[in-house]
């Protein structure tokens, strides 16, 4: 399997505090890896180590299956904390500068890149006069201007309005789908993150506490009818035989979780009662992705 990033027990200490504590994680080629954690959980420190801004206290980093980080980082683009560019230059001048330093001055098509991120028609406008959304789009253009195969984006939608967030989301999806760029992205807007990420990692107090893919997340957040009855056998018979419901699970001695017919809560209740089954509790359970993430970050597993 092709991994773009692999870390092994990566640790960053600031005096006695471990900002990142033995994190071992891997990002597969083509993935959009959502990195989740509270403020100060260690996301930015981890990303900074990957990008060479922080020197790791211990542990190893592999980029594109190779421990040669200088070489690997040539294929990385990054936005850490806030976009990096020269505000007194125009968007094209900024891009040209990065094309020059990455040795692409003769080959890179600046217009094409600007068009891709939707920044055409601002030839004479200095970046300082750009809106935040435009700055973020330019930062993304700069990040992949060196034909990057892997983008490390730390809170790229911070401070953007809903339209700006949508634009960046669509841009990232296009980069992933059309150019095959792998993305490691952190964001506090978890609902947005869940619209693009294919894999998630949850970091808390520097420790990677959980990793799961989008299917697993959907599974974990699936809605169901929770029903508590006094006769489990009879209740299961009613569900399967009378109501033809197959997707249900029995838990403990009195709880059934039904994953089908979520709109028929009243009917299920009525059938139970008609069959002399006492229902002490019935309700739709489960949560949306935002709630799930919030609970995860609070350390409560679903």
């Amino acid at each position: 399997m092709d991994y773009v990033l692999k870390t092994n027990n990566l640790t960053k200490k600031f005096k006695d505090i471990k900002a990142v504590n033995e994190v071992s994680m891997s990002v597969k080629k083509g993935d959009i890896y959502g990195f989740i954690g509270k403020n100060g959980a260690g996301k930015s420190s981890f990303m900074k180590m990957v990008c060479g801004m922080f020197i790791p206290s211990s542990g190893e980093i592999e980029l594109f299956g190779n421990a040669d980080l200088v070489r690997g980082r040539k294929k990385i683009g990054s936005i850490i904390e806030s976009p990096a560019f020269y505000p007194s230059m125009t968007a094209e001048e900024n891009l040209r500068y990065y094309s020059i330093v990455t040795g692409q001055k003769k080959y890179v098509k600046l217009d094409e890149t600007l068009k891709f991120v939707g920044l055409t028609g601002f030839d004479s406008k200095k970046v300082a006069e750009f809106s935040l959304g435009m700055k973020q789009r330019l930062a993304i253009a700069i990040a992949f201007s060196n034909s990057a195969e892997f983008l490390v984006l730390d809170e790229p939608v911070n401070g953007l309005d809903p339209t700006g967030i949508k634009e960046i989301r669509e841009l990232l999806l296009r980069l992933n789908e059309e150019k095959g760029i792998t993305i490691l992205i952190s964001s506090h807007i978890l609902g947005e993150l869940s619209k693009i990420a294919t894999k998630y990692g949850v970091i808390d107090k520097g420790i990677l506490v959980d990793e799961f893919d989008s299917n697993e997340l959907t599974e974990r957040c699936k809605k169901y009818i929770k029903i508590e009855v006094d006769n489990m056998m009879k209740a299961s018979h009613v569900l399967s035989e009378q109501m033809n419901i197959q997707k249900f699970e029995m838990h403990n001695s009195n709880t059934i979780k039904i994953y089908d017919n979520l709109e028929n809560v009243a009917l299920i209740n009525r059938n139970m009662v008609l069959n002399d089954i006492n229902v002490s509790y019935i309700s739709i359970q489960g949560m949306d992705l935002e709630d799930y993430f919030v609970r995860l970050m609070e350390g409560i597993k679903c």
Binding site: K48, C51, G52, M53, F54, I55, L69, V70, R71, G72, R73, K74, K75, I76, G77, S78, I80, E81, S82, P83, A84, F85, Y86, P87, S88, M89, E93, R96, Y97, Y98, I100, V101, T102, G103, K105, I142, N146, V152
Partner: protein
């Protein structure tokens, strides 16, 4: 490495601050050229009792043995000395502080590091970029002052004095390079413009200001040795510190 230097060059010549510094240099140049009238008035018998003439007497020794044809040379040497030292003492600390710390403020130093450039190359490119800019300014000023001198006084015996002019030029460039390494060190150490500027002024004026004057009176080889030592120590120190710090 070459790409990084090309990038620095591109940035320097599109940067408003470098344009402003060039402009200030030119304005001070015009003021200096206005002093040409004073030089025209130099007589072979003049002594070092006038401050302005005293500078040239100091540089060339007793000028009474020369005729009026020495005026061009005096003018050019004056331009090299005045602008060279002005550059080393005033422009280098200000310009380097802004140019280096701006990279931290705009986070471009992080971006470069994230793009896989070794840290020593980032420091070297920055140092060489500034050196190129300052040398270019000094050379431009020398060329302009030469043209002005020739235009007004004629060639005179300028060619006879060409080696002296060249030696002064080399001396001034070496002093500037040494001071650039000092200012780069101060700027990378402090990382922010508000702190870098006073630190660089203290380093350059208080600690090494007298050295510039001292070095200027020494021969080129001694000056070269001292400058190279300073560059090695301060450039090496910057790379050493930068390699071991988080950015």
């Amino acid at each position: 490495m070459l790409n990084l230097i090309c990038g620095e060059r591109y940035k320097l010549y599109t940067n408003i601050i470098s344009k402003v510094i060039m402009l200030l240099f030119m304005i001070s140049g015009i003021i200096y050229f206005m002093q040409y009238r004073n030089i025209s008035g130099i007589n072979a018998t003049d002594k070092a009792n006038d401050d302005f003439i005293g500078v040239f007497v100091y540089m060339l020794g007793d000028i009474s043995s020369y005729g009026n044809e020495i005026k061009s040379t005096i003018f050019i040497l004056g331009a090299i000395t005045v602008f060279g030292l002005l550059s080393a003492i005033c422009i280098v600390p200000v310009f380097t502080s802004i140019f280096v710390t701006d990279e931290y403020a705009t986070r471009n130093i992080q971006q470069l590091s994230g793009k896989g450039f070794s840290r020593h190359k980032i420091v070297a490119a920055k140092f060489l970029g500034i050196c190129e800019f300052i040398i270019l300014m000094i050379l431009t000023m020398t060329l302009i002052s030469t043209a002005v001198a020739i235009g007004i006084t004629g060639m005179g015996n300028l060619l006879d004095f060409a080696p002296i002019v060249l030696i002064y030029l080399i001396k001034i460039i070496l002093i500037n390079l040494a001071f650039i390494s000092l200012a780069v060190f101060g700027s990378f150490l402090t990382k922010n413009c508000g702190a870098a500027m006073p630190v660089n002024f203290i380093l350059i004026i208080c600690l090494f200001g007298e050295l510039a004057n001292e070095l200027f009176n020494r021969d080129v080889l001694t000056l070269m040795r001292v400058s190279m030592t300073m560059i090695l120590v301060f450039f090496g120190g910057t790379v050493f510190a930068f390699n071991r710090s988080d950015i």
